[in-house]
C-alpha cells in the first residue's frame, strides 16, 4: 500500500499505534502519546530486549529466541510480544530487558533467565529481584528506568526511538509520528521555510565542527545547478564513539526521513548514506528500512502526492578515519582514495560528481524531524546561548556506567561523569577525561564544572568532536595516551600533505623515545615545536588537530612528561621501561607467591621474611603485583 497524503499517514499512524501503546517512553517534552491498559483480546505485555551491538555480543539474540519459545510453550504468545529494539545506551549492564506497561527494567539478563522471566514475571506477576539494577553508590535496587541516575538527567531527542521501537518495522516508527515531519514539510511548507526553521532552531553540526546546519542547507540551495545531493556521513571513525552506529541501528527511518526533508529543502532528489563496512548490523537495518520506505511510497517518486522525488542509496566505506572529513568522504564515494582537498570549493558549491552537495552527520539528521514537528522555539529553548539542543556522548573508559548518554547542552562534565556515569570504576581517583577523540584534548578535575558546549570545550583546550568521552583514572599514563592517539594518527594519515604524513610520524617517534626512557628535555621542546608546525600547516582537519592530545596533555600534565624525561620514571607504571617494582617490607609476610610467579626469578628471600626484587633483572611484567594478596608489591 502506498501512502499518498498526510491524512493517509495519520490513519496508518493511528492503526499502528495499537501495537506500541503499551510502551513507556523516555522522558522527553515533545512526547504526547498516552499509554493505556490493554483490553481482553489485545496483546497485554511487551518484553523489550535490546538488540544493539553491545547486547548482541552478550547473547541477546539467544535470549529473544528463548523468550519466544517459552512464551509459546506456556501458551502466552498471543498475549505477550517480544520486541527487539535498538540500543538502550546502558551497554555496561547489557543485555537489557524492559517489560511494559509494568515499566520494569532488568539488567545483565542471560539467555537462561528467560524461563524465570516468563514464569515469574509474566505469568505470576512477580518481579525478579536479582535482575534489577543495583545503584552502585547506595546499593539500592531500582525498578524503573526513569529513576536510574543513568537515565534521570538525560534528555533524549536524537536517541528518542532507540530502545523503544523495533527498527525493522516501519509501522512502529510511524506510530511514534514517523514521517509526519516529512509529510508536513512537503505539503505545508516551502523549502525556504524548512531551512528557516532549522536555522532558527540553532542546530549545529554534530559531527564535531559545529557548523550551523541551516546555513549549510541554505548555501547548498543557493548553489547553481539542478542536480544536487544529500549525503549522510556515517563514517564514525573516532575510536571510542558509537552514537552514530546506535542511531542507525536503533532508528534508521529517522535518518531516511530527515535526509528526504533536507533533500526537499536544498533541491536534491538523491541521497547517500556513507557508512563504515565495519558496521554490518547498521547496514542490514538501513537496507531493510530503505526497502520498507520504498514499498509504502515514502521514498521514491511523488512523495505525499507532491512532485517531489527522493531516493536513498548506501555507499560503503572501507576503513579510513580521514573519510569522516567531507571532501575525503566524497572522493571515497567516487571510488577513489579518500584524500581530502583544499576548501574552497566547499561541497556546497562543488561536491559529489562535481555537483552541489550537502554533507551532514548522522546525529545531526536525527534531530531534524523533532525540530520540524515541535518548532524551532522548542529546540532553541534547550541548551546554552550558542549551542542549542542536546548532544549524545559515548561514555567509556574507567567509568562505572559505560554507555550512550544524551544530555542538554550546558550540562557539566561532573554531572555526566559522576551522576549519569556513576563515577570512576573500582573507587579509583579521576585523572582526566578525553573528548573529541584523536582531535581533542584532555580535561582535568579543575574544569569538570564547565557547562558543555562547542565554545566552552574549545576554550579549555579540547573540543566537542563527535562525542567520544573517554574517562581515565590515576592508573593511566598521559604520555602513553598521547602515544596511543599519535599511533592512530600515523596509521590514518592519508599521506597527501607532508606536515601530517611526516610530522606526525616524527611526533610518534619522539613520544616513543620518551616513554621508553630515552627522552631528553630537547625532545620535549622539539615535540612542542612540531605540534605547532603541524597544526598550522596541515591540509585538512585531521592533521590540523592531530597534535591536540599532545598539546593538552603537555599543558595539564607537564610534570608527568618531565618525570619521564628527567627522572626516567613513569608515575603510573604504564610505561614498562620506566616503571620500578619494589616490595614494601611493612606489608610483606613472606608468602613466596611473588617469587613463584616471577618469570625471570628476580625475586628472592626466605619464607616468612621480606622478599626483595632485583631491579637489574626485573622485566617489569607485573606478575608479582597481580600475585600479591597483601598489597606489598609497590607498582609505581
Amino acid at each position: 500500500m502506498q501512502i499518498k497524503s498526510l491524512e493517509e499517514l495519520i490513519k496508518i499512524k493511528e492503526k499502528s499505534y495499537k501495537s506500541v501503546y503499551l510502551r513507556q517512553h523516555h522522558n522527553n517534552d515533545s512526547d504526547e502519546i498516552e499509554t493505556r491498559n490493554a483490553t481482553e483480546d489485545e496483546i497485554s505485555k511487551n518484553i523489550i530486549v535490546c538488540g544493539g551491538t553491545g547486547c548482541l555480543a552478550t547473547d541477546s539474540a539467544k535470549l529473544i529466541k528463548n523468550l519466544e519459545l517459552i512464551l509459546k510453550a506456556r501458551g502466552y504468545d498471543h498475549k505477550v510480544k517480544v520486541i527487539r529494539t535498538g540500543c538502550f545506551g546502558f551497554c555496561e549492564q547489557g543485555p537489557i530487558v524492559k517489560i511494559d506497561p509494568d515499566n520494569i527494567f532488568y539488567v545483565k539478563v542471560h539467555p537462561q533467565d528467560a524461563k524465570e522471566i516468563i514464569d515469574e514475571h509474566i505469568i505470576k506477576g512477580k518481579k525478579i529481584e536479582r535482575l534489577l539494577y543495583i545503584e552502585p553508590v547506595e546499593g539500592k535496587k531500582i525498578e524503573q528506568h526513569d529513576d536510574m541516575p543513568f537515565y534521570k538527567k538525560q534528555m533524549r531527542i536524537a536517541l528518542r526511538n532507540c530502545g523503544l521501537i523495533n527498527p525493522e518495522d516501519i509501522y512502529e516508527y510511524i506510530a511514534f509520528k514517523g514521517y509526519e515531519a516529512l509529510g508536513r514539510s512537503l505539503t505545508t511548507m516551502s523549502p525556504e521555510e524548512v531551512i528557516e526553521v532549522i536555522t532558527k532552531s540553532g542546530l549545529r553540526g554534530r559531527g564535531g565542527g559545529g557548523f550551523p546546519t541551516g546555513l549549510k542547507w541554505q548555501y547548498t540551495r543557493a548553489s547553481e545547478g539542478t542536480t544536487k545531493y544529500i549525503i549522510c556521513n556515517g563514517d564514525e571513525g573516532d575510536p571510542g564513539a558509537f552514537m552514530d552506529r546506535s542511531i542507525l541501528e536503533g532508528d534508521p527511518h529517522t535518518i531516511l526521513e530527515s535526509m528526504a526533508i533536507a533533500g526537499y529543502a536544498i533541491g536534491a532528489q538523491r541521497g547517500f548514506v556513507y557508512i563504515r563496512a565495519e558496521y554490518p548490523l547498521a547496514i542490514e537495518r538501513l537496507n531493510i528500512a530503505i526497502k520498507q520506505a520504498r514499498e509504502v511510497g515514502l521514498l521514491g517518486k511523488n512523495l505525499f502526492g507532491t512532485d517531489f522525488h527522493f531516493d536513498i542509496e548506501l555507499k560503503y566505506g572501507a576503513g579510513a578515519f580521514v573519510c569522516g572529513e567531507e571532501t575525503a568522504l566524497i572522493h571515497s564515494m567516487e571510488g577513489k582514495r579518500g584524500e581530502p582537498h583544499y576548501k574552497p570549493p566547499y561541497p556546497a558549491q562543488k561536491g559529489y560528481r562535481g555537483k552541489a552537495t550537502c554533507v551532514n552527520n548522522v546525529e545531526t539528521f536525527a534531530n531534524i524531524t523533532s525540530i520540524i514537528l515541535n518548532g524551532h522555539e522548542w529546540f532553541s529553548s534547550i541548551g546554552t546561548e550558542k549551542s542549542k539542543g542536546t548532544k549524545v556522548f559515548a561514555l567509556a573508559g574507567k567509568i562505572n556506567n559505560v554507555g550512550l548518554v544524551e544530555v542538554p547542552m550546558g550540562t557539566t562534565l561532573r554531572e555526566i561523569i559522576y551522576e549519569i556515569g556513576g563515577g570512576i570504576q573500582n573507587h579509583a581517583k579521576f585523572k582526566a577525561v578525553q573528548t573529541g577523540g584523536p582531535s581533542g584534548g584532555v580535561i582535568t578535575e579543575k574544569n569538570l564544572d564547565t557547562p558543555i558546549d562547542y565554545e566552552s570545550l574549545s576554550a579549555i583546550g579540547s573540543m566537542m568532536g563527535s562525542g567520544g568521552m573517554i574517562v581515565m583514572d590515576e592508573h593511566n599514563c598521559m604520555v602513553n595516551i598521547s602515544k596511543f592517539y599519535l599511533e592512530f594518527i600515523t596509521d590514518e594519515s592519508c599521506g597527501r600533505c607532508t606536515p601530517c604524513r611526516v610530522g606526525t610520524k616524527r611526533m610518534y617517534e619522539l613520544l616513543n623515545k620518551i616513554s621508553s626512557g630515552e627522552g631528553t628535555l630537547e625532545d620535549l621542546d622539539a615535540l612542542k615545536q612540531l605540534c605547532h608546525m603541524i597544526k598550522g600547516s596541515s591540509l585538512c582537519g585531521l592533521g590540523q588537530t592531530a597534535p591536540n592530545p599532545v598539546l593538552s596533555t603537555m599543558h595539564y600534565f607537564w610534570d608527568e612528561y618531565l618525570s619521564h624525561v628527567k627522572d626516567k620514571y613513569c608515575p603510573t607504571g604504564e610505561c614498562k621501561n620506566l616503571s620500578k617494582y619494589s616490595i614494601n617490607p611493612d606489608k610483606c609476610v613472606g608468602c613466596t607467591a611473588c617469587a613463584r610467579v616471577c618469570p625471570v626469578d628476580c625475586i628472592s628471600g626466605e619464607p616468612k621474611k621480606t622478599f626483595i626484587i632485583d631491579e637489574s633483572i626485573c622485566i617489569k611484567c607485573g606478575a608479582c603485583f597481580d600475585a600479591c594478596k597483601f598489597n606489598a608489591v609497590i607498582k609505581p
Binding site: T53, G54, A57, T58, F90, C91, E92, Q93, G94, E236, G237, D238, P239, G240, A241, F242, R245, S246, A277, E278, Y279, K315, Y316, G317, A318, G319, A320, F321, S332, M333, E334, G335, K336, R337, G338, R353, A394, A396, G397, K398, V402, G403, Q434, G437, G468, I470, M472, N476, I481, F484, Y485, F488, D491, C494
Partner: protein, 172 residues
Amino acid sequence: MPKANFQVEIPNTENLPKEKFNELKQYIDGLKSTEGALIQILHQAQEIFGYLPKEVQLFVARALGMPGSEVCGVVSFYSYFTTEPVGKHVISVCMGTACFVRGADKIVDRIAKKIGIGPEETTKDGFFTLKNIRCIGACGLAPVVMVDDKVYGRVKEEDIDDILDSYRKEEA
C-alpha cells in the same frame, strides 16, 4: 554510462579458481554503471576471494579499463582491504580508546606470545590471523576480542588461553 570491458582474460591459477573470477565478472556485469564503483567492486571481490592479491586487482583494473596502479592505490589506502590471505580464524583485538585504557595492548601481547605471531600476521599453519582493529563500538564490554564473528567482552589476560584453545580443540 561506462560499462565494464569483458574482453579481459580470466587468469587461472591454483589458489585462485576460475569460478571465483567468473563470479566477480558476473557481479561487475550486473552493475548499472561502473563509474565510481571501484570500492564497491573491491568489497565484493574480497568477499569472494577472501583477500585481494595482485591477480584480482589486475583483473578488476582491466575490467574497468583503469591502470592497475590506481586499483592498487585504492586497495592499499583502506584498512578494510587486505592483500594477504587470512587464516581460518581471525582474532581481532579492538584497539579503540575505550579498550586501550582498559588494557587492550596487554591482551594483544598475550595473544601474540601465545600463538607466536604479531598483529596483521597469520600463523604458519594458516589457523589464526591476528588483527588490531579500530573500535567495534562495544565499548561497554571493553576490552573486547573478536574471534571471527564471536565477541568476547571484558577479556582478561588469563582468559586468552581458554578462548584460543577452544578453537584448537574444536578443530581436533
